[in-house]
């Protein structure tokens, strides 16, 4: 508990919150250099980076994964680190504020000590302090996307509440992914309201009847003059939006990595526009962006997103430095750049944890949050039940909140199997916590919430699982899509991560019995496009997932979910292996 006070005083001092009062001078000797905001500035330019906020205007708990499995060649590399492997790789002390923000270890205990994370009011305090310190014209705030979606207020205002928050924080440039699930027209309306540039070199008009056929839908890049330097910022939206999310939202738009055109824009910025520094603002995912750095030449910095990795230290590949700032508003990345004679000479980076119990909230920020929550307060604060254990999202195969959703679907839909998507956004509830309606939305607030019930042949279920496994465990990051395995209720299986494509899964059982390839199973699924692979869709049963889950929790009252995974990994011995598969 001492840490709270020391850190608070430390921050308070850094922010100049203390006047010349006796209290300040009395505690001044308590202030240490390892402060949350402490930073040795470099050069004149500061880029602040946020990613994957998933519309969390309010602080929350967010537990990082306890299982993060990948193909052999990627094990123990940044993007595939968790738990103790993460702490050891980055040299972080167990039990510290950083350990709490970056890993699942002792999460419940540390949550009590350090409190909630993120929240726009707290982010604002940090951002304003850095702007004050560095000078307004020397700081840019860049947002790697997945900002407009993820909570009830986002869904109910069709993204407007979040755009308002971005304008309040002062976002300068952004790219997108879940943003697109509001549909093309709404995306354009929201961009109109947004005071930032929405850039993407990899979203191209694909409608042969359009006047802009084969042209980029958004500006591919923007050039900003900051701290006396010209910074070229190229946008890279999520390359696989049209396969990961329903195509209907982006009909006529084509995505993809498009590394050839990316190289073209990098060269254009350097040679024709004579910028001093090239930045890629990206929603590719951390491991994909490491491949981009290997394949595209001349990018100084990649500000990555999508895979929700906290990256305490930048990594540099082929002269390109990559940073990534976690998720859910937990972090703000601060990148100081020293630019001299048209080149990047030096830089310094810090992943700042938005420790909302230690960092004072901005008053206007609290008012903004209140303004957007007030109309829905009654519905969202409604208590549905309580949870005995921790409810969390993340992990490669199984997480308790998903298991709850699966149970609720099976109970309501009377199906044999429930599929829940392997998204990486949501929330965390601690043991004994109330489950309120807002929490259900935090796990399910999407624009296509329908739970579909249909029939799927045994053989097809098996091949679908292999297909999904090949996306998640592909040895080449360019062929992954940056999520976790779909969660299955009513199904158990063994998996060999490093087996060839199509041969990873064995011992596949449906409700304890070996799968019958020719039998049709009744399956319920949401959040994907599985229903298109099935037949005999039960149209009358279609229901939004948040309704299914909230009424189930209400019926049950107390929720007690097992920590035991339904998936047995054959060739990896633990959830968080180090390089070489060491556990």
């Amino acid at each position: 508990m001492q840490i709270d006070r020391r850190d608070f005083l430390h921050i308070a001092a850094a922010l100049g919150l203390f006047g010349v009062g006796a209290r300040a001078s009395k505690r001044a000797d308590d202030i240490k250099a390892d402060d949350i905001l402490d930073f040795n500035p470099v050069g004149k330019v500061t880029l602040l980076h946020i990613c994957d906020m998933h519309a969390h205007l309010k602080p929350l708990y967010w537990r990082e994964p306890s299982t993060l499995i990948s193909a052999k060649n990627l094990v123990g590399t940044p993007g595939f680190l968790c738990g103790k492997a993460f702490l050891d790789f980055y040299g972080i002390k167990p039990g510290s504020l950083e350990a709490y923000f970056d890993t699942y270890l002792n999460f419940e205990e540390l949550a009590k000590k350090f409190g909630k994370m993120g929240g726009v009011a707290h982010m604002k305090t940090i951002i304003d302090e850095i702007r004050r310190d560095r000078g307004r014209d020397n700081v840019l705030l860049l947002d790697s996307g997945d900002t407009w979606q993820g909570t009830a207020v986002a869904l109910k205002t069709k993204g407007e509440a979040i755009v308002d928050a971005q304008n309040f924080l002062g976002v300068d440039v952004m790219v997108g992914h879940w943003e697109f699930t509001y549909g093309k027209e709404r995306v354009m309306e929201l961009i109109d309201k947004l005071n930032a540039d929405f850039v993407s070199q990899n979203v191209v008009d694909n409608d042969p009847f359009s006047d802009n056929f084969e042209e980029t839908v958004f500006d591919p890049y923007t050039i900003k003059e900051v701290g006396g330097a010209k910074i070229g910022i190229i946008g890279q939206s999520f390359p696989f939006t049209s396969t990961a999310n329903p195509k209907r939202f982006t009909e006529g738009w084509s995505f993809g990595l498009r590394l050839d055109s990316l190289q073209g824009y990098v060269d254009e910025l350097r040679k024709e526009k004579k910028v001093d520094c090239v930045v890629l603002l990206s929603h590719d995912g951390f491991s994909v962006d490491q491949e981009v750095a290997r394949k595209v030449h001349g990018i100084d910095f990649i500000l990555s997103g999508h895979t929700h990795d906290p990256g305490p230290r930048p990594i540099t590949i082929n002269g390109t430095t990559i940073i990534i700032a976690g998720s859910h508003g937990k972090f703000i990345g601060r990148l100081d750049i020293d630019i001299q004679k048209g080149r990047v000479k030096d830089f310094a980076y810090k992943l700042i944890p938005v420790a909302s119990s230690l960092i004072p909230a901005d008053k206007k920020g609290l008012e903004l949050v209140d303004k957007w929550y007030r109309p829905y307060e009654k519905e969202l604060s409604q208590k549905l039940g309580t949870t005995k254990g921790t409810l969390y999202k993340r992990d490669t195969f199984y997480s308790t909140f998903d298991a709850l959703i699966g149970e609720a679907i099976r109970d309501t839909m009377d199906c044999e199997i429930a599929f829940t998507p392997g998204y990486r956004w949501g929330t965390t509830l601690l043991p004994g916590d109330d489950i309120v309606m807002d929490n259900i939305y935090e796990m399910t607030a999407i624009t296509y919430p329908e739970v579909y019930t249909f029939e799927l042949q045994g053989a097809k279920i098996a091949s679908l699982l292999e297909d999904i496994a090949d996306n998640v465990f592909n040895a080449n990051p360019l062929y992954q899509q940056g999520g976790d395995m779909s969660r299955l209720t009513g199904v158990s299986y063994d998996i060999k991560i490093n087996a060839p494509t199509g041969k990873r899964i064995s011992n596949l059982k449906i409700n304890g019995k070996e799968i019958e390839p020719n039998r049709n199973y009744v399956v319920s699924a949401w959040g994907g496009n599985l229903q298109n692979a099935g037949k005999n869709l039960r149209e009358s049963k279609i229901k939004p997932v948040y309704e299914v889950v909230s009424s189930y929790v209400k019926r049950k009252g107390t929720i007690d979910i097992s920590n035991r995974s339904n998936v047995n990994v054959l060739d990896v011995a633990c959830g968080c292996p180090k390089k070489g598969g060491v556990c």
Binding site: H177, W178, P239, F240, S242, T243, A244, N245, P246, K247, R248, S254, F255, G256, L257, D260, P421, G422, Y423, G458, A459, K460, A462, S463, L464, E466, D467, I468, D470, N471, V472, L478, Y479, Q481, G482, G483, D484, S486, T501, G502, K503, I505, S506, N507, L508, I515, P517, G527, G528, N529, L530, N532, A533
Partner: protein, 153 residues
Amino acid sequence: MKRRSFLKGLGAIPVVMSVGSLSLMAKDSKKPKSKNAISFKKALEVVTNGKGAKESDKVKLIVPEIAENGAVVPVKVNVDEPIENVKSIHILTTKNSNARSADVFLSPRNGKAYFATRIKLGGTQEVVAVAVLKSGRAIMAKKPVKVTIGGCG
């Protein structure tokens, strides 16, 4: 949603798949062969006049890493040779039942040895661009394209 193409993409993958000792799908060999079937090996032989093609940086092949829709996969080929030197460009696939997707014969009036189209892919496989030169020599480039149901986010 392109249901047809979606199912097509899906259907192609399980062909080589088995779960444990259980063979879940009918093997390819059990199906009657289409009259139009032509293997990649055969197709390459035909377009290169039996000589085969050597991989070369001069053939620039642009395809998506992951197909957005297996039924219409955009393919661009640019051959870094003067147009006078390039006789034809061929787009082949390694696993479609008919591996010959496009044959384009060029003349100097084309201006540039460049061709773009959309092809159908029955499943995850490689796309191969072959350029046959005036000398009779053939050069090529290949890239894998994944056809998948997708589904995470």
